[in-house]
């Protein structure tokens, strides 16, 4: 593009103004990218989970446990490959702000059901063989600087007292949205520690065939409908999605803020372009005298505007992507938080839109500039 130099040189005309505008756009797009990533990460979490695994919990609420006898009855169902269960432990590690999920699981059946967790064979065996062993996500190891075979103590809240564990295995999930900060230990250990005063929190059921899920769900819930603990069964995916909705109307909040940010920065960018436009009235008149077409001037101004916003946009969007790379601190709250490529592209599209809208008025003015009057002003 032979006009590139002209456009570029116009940007450098007032370096401070150009840089500040570029930075403004960068900052806005950084914010947009980060916010949207919250939404996409939560969406991703609600996509995690197999369609061939079901979660059966108490119909009254997730906090109500289910009878142990349900285990055999669920296993006996047709199309069921295996059944396991888990309990929420809810313990405190050192202090309350070190939040992470701790689950007591029926270790053999549970681990077999979750190939998503990649565990070295020797560690897997060590975990399965030892009553007080813990299986921990890699993210958690990094977060607290734990090492393999180290002892960890949790203060019980639901189950009072101090509980001692030894880390024997570390898993890496194949999908980051699965979460790499989970803490698994033996249900038997918990059972012993409360003298048998505990029953399963919820059951996990592995089906042979995901297509059988709807029918299985129906059968299971009807089976327990009139018992002391009626159940609510759903696919694991639906279960996770439900949890995400507990946050509330985040999507709306993010959209509202995103819109405000867009307009705020639009004003900044538009103001800059208009100031630049006003300064160049005389020069634009000279260009027209030299034979530059109206339409060409329109495009040149627009190109200048786009260059600013795309530069700023790229800076902001990629800045966010780099900042929230793997292992970023937000992962503790929202598993698998990262900036997706779809968000990057959307950000660049918005930057383009920003450039076009902020440049349209000055571009139009340049196009329609009455040359003679403008020349008179210069002289």
């Amino acid at each position: 593009m032979k006009f590139m130099r002209l456009i570029w040189v116009n940007l450098l005309r007032n370096k401070r103004r150009t840089i500040l505008t570029v930075l403004s756009v960068a900052v806005a797009l950084f914010l947009f990218t980060t916010l949207r990533s919250v939404v996409t990460a939560l969406d991703a979490v609600s996509e995690v989970g197999s369609e061939a695994r079901l979660i059966t919990r108490s119909a009254t609420g997730i906090t109500f446990p289910l009878p142990q006898s349900y285990f055999e009855r669920l296993r006996a169902q047709e199309g069921v490959q295996s059944v396991s269960w888990a309990n929420w432990f809810g313990g405190i590690y050192v202090n309350e702000s070190n939040f992470f999920a701790q689950l007591a699981i029926d270790h053999e059946t549970y681990l077999a059901m979750y190939p998503e967790m990649a565990i070295p064979d020797d560690q897997r065996q060590a975990f399965l063989n030892e009553r007080t062993a813990v299986l921990v996500g890699r993210g958690l190891m990094e977060r607290f600087g734990w090492t393999l075979d180290q002892n960890v103590t949790l203060q019980g809240t639901i189950f009072p007292g101090d509980w001692e564990f030894t880390i024997r295995a570390v898993y890496v999930p194949d999908d980051p949205s699965f979460g790499d900060q989970l803490f698994f230990f033996h249900y038997d250990y918990l059972y012993e520690g409360v003298n048998g005063n505990i029953i399963p929190g919820w059951y996990v059921i592995q089906l042979d065939d995901p297509a059988a899920a709807p029918a299985a769900i129906d059968r299971i819930d009807r089976m327990f409908e009139n018992s002391s603990s009626p159940t609510k069964t759903e696919t694991e995916k639906a279960f996770n999605a439900g949890f995400v909705t507990m946050w509330g109307n985040i999507g709306f909040l993010v959209k509202a803020i995103g819109t405000a940010v867009f307009f705020a920065i639009l004003l900044v960018a538009a103001n800059t372009m208009m100031m630049a436009g006003r300064e160049r009235i005389g020069e634009n008149a000279v260009l027209k005298t030299l034979g530059f077409q109206d339409g060409l001037l329109f495009r040149l101004v627009l190109a200048e505007s786009l260059l600013i916003t795309l530069l700023g946009g790229a800076l902001g969007v990629f800045g966010s992507k780099l900042m929230f790379g793997p292992g970023n601190p937000v992962n503790s709250f929202i598993q698998g938080f990262e900036v997706e490529w779809s968000t990057v592209i959307l950000g660049l599209v918005i930057a383009t839109l920003l450039g076009m809208i902020s440049g349209i008025v000055p571009a139009w003015q340049a196009m329609r500039l009455p040359v003679i009057q403008a020349l008179r002003r210069v002289a």
């Binding site: 009254t60 203060q155 909705t245 946050w247 405000a260 004003l267 103001n271």
Partner: protein, 387 residues
């Protein structure tokens, strides 16, 4: 002598587009800031206003949430009989042993929520002072009835008076709605503790809340109950307990508010800097004249600073006005501490609006500082020649 403010005001009128766009940018930043702080404010109020410093709340030792606690009937009776528990006009102890469970329900606006079902004693409304039945009537002892908190009504199914809710394997008739002056209790469903207990939990309460005969003696009360080896309890002032429950979420909300508003502010300040530099540039001849007339550079500096702050304040006012409609808007989220739904209203207070204006003024000051400095340092000759 100071440069008259009228000069600044007139200059703003000369550049209406520039002034308005800069002010509008600031307006949006202030609006977002105030809105988010109002959100955090609302949430905090819901939990801060929950509970009274005159009441003590007792949980089993080590339980950091009501849900995890378990207190035997005998213990609850023992507590009620203690001398530091205030007595009502009927000379009965103002003590409410309560059952706390969390049930799953679907929000009418979509999505899942965990609602608190609190099994209360008949004394509960007296123990907690700000509670009021706003529709229908109070619970009848022995009946399968519930009262629904104001903030849940119309946001969940079957919450109207006369309708029937179904949970825990039983049907419950909604007989009334209650308000608690914005406290977290307004997101709860209340039933009689004796009705709830067998359905869910067996023979334990989750908490005992009582009015202290002498609120100043809290420390003594705490010591006595916690050190008794038979009882195995933790004691909190009721309001402090709820305040602590909100710590994480309040922190998150405040952090988000500051982060978002801060980032937006940077963008707005940059915009203001550009505008002010342009203003200083174009008014160089005027500045030269002012300097020639005998105004000092310091006067010029403050004059431009005032102008910048003024634009920002216009923006701030616009932004504050923008946020007024959201005051009172109800939204909800899950308080992960108590694992239950808490609905709260955006709270835009005069103090918050003032904070918004101060925020705007700071943005204006930052945006105007260097340009104002440039104006003040301007050599007179250069400016005159430019004119």
């Amino acid at each position: 002598m100071k440069i008259p403010i009228l000069y600044n005001l007139r200059s703003l009128k000369e550049r209406p587009v520039s002034t308005l766009t800069t002010a509008a940018g600031m307006a949006l930043v202030v609006a977002v800031f105030v809105a988010m702080m109002a959100l955090a404010n609302g949430f905090r109020s819901a939990l801060v206003k929950s509970g009274s410093p005159n009441n003590a709340m007792v949980l089993r030792k080590g339980a950091n949430a009501e849900m995890y606690s378990g207190i035997a009937r005998s213990t609850a009776s023992t507590i009620a009989g203690m001398p530091f528990v205030a007595r009502g006009p009927d000379n009965q102890p103002l003590s409410s042993p309560e059952v706390f469970v969390v049930i799953g329900a679907d929000r009418l606006t979509g999505g899942m929520a965990n609602l608190v079902v609190r099994g209360v004693s008949p004394k509960a409304m007296q123990v907690r002072q700000d509670l009021e039945i706003v529709a229908g009537r109070d619970l009848r002892s022995g009946a399968s009835e519930v009262l629904v908190g104001e903030k849940i009504v119309d946001r969940f199914a079957n919450t109207g008076i006369g309708e029937t809710m179904s949970f825990g394997g039983r049907d419950w008739t909604v007989v009334g709605h209650f308000s608690a002056r914005g406290a977290a209790f307004e997101s709860e469903i209340w039933a009689e503790n004796e009705q709830v207990m067998p359905v869910f939990r067996g023979e334990v309460f989750q908490s005992v809340t009582f009015r202290m005969a002498d609120p100043a003696s809290f420390d003594g009360v705490k010591q006595q109950l916690e050190e008794d080896p038979r009882l195995f309890l933790d004691v909190f002032r009721e309001n402090e307990f709820y305040q602590n429950q909100s710590v994480i979420l309040t922190f998150i909300l405040n952090f988000i508010a500051v982060f978002i508003a801060g980032v937006m502010a940077i963008g707005a300040v940059f915009g203001a800097i550009n505008t002010m530099y342009a203003a200083v540039s174009s008014r160089a001849p005027e500045i030269a004249v002012l300097l020639t007339l005998g105004f000092k550079p310091g006067n010029v500096l403050s004059s431009f600073l005032i102008e910048a702050v003024f634009i920002a304040l216009i923006g701030g006012a616009m932004g504050c006005i923008l946020t007024l409609p959201i005051n009172g808007l109800v939204t909800s989220t899950t308080n992960w501490n108590s694992f239950s739904e808490v609905a709260f209203a955006f709270r835009v207070t005069p103090a918050l609006l003032l904070t918004g204006m101060i925020f705007a003024a700071i943005m204006g000051f930052l945006g105007g500082f260097f340009p104002a400095l440039k104006a003040a340092r301007q050599p007179v000759i250069v400016a005159l020649r430019q004119g």
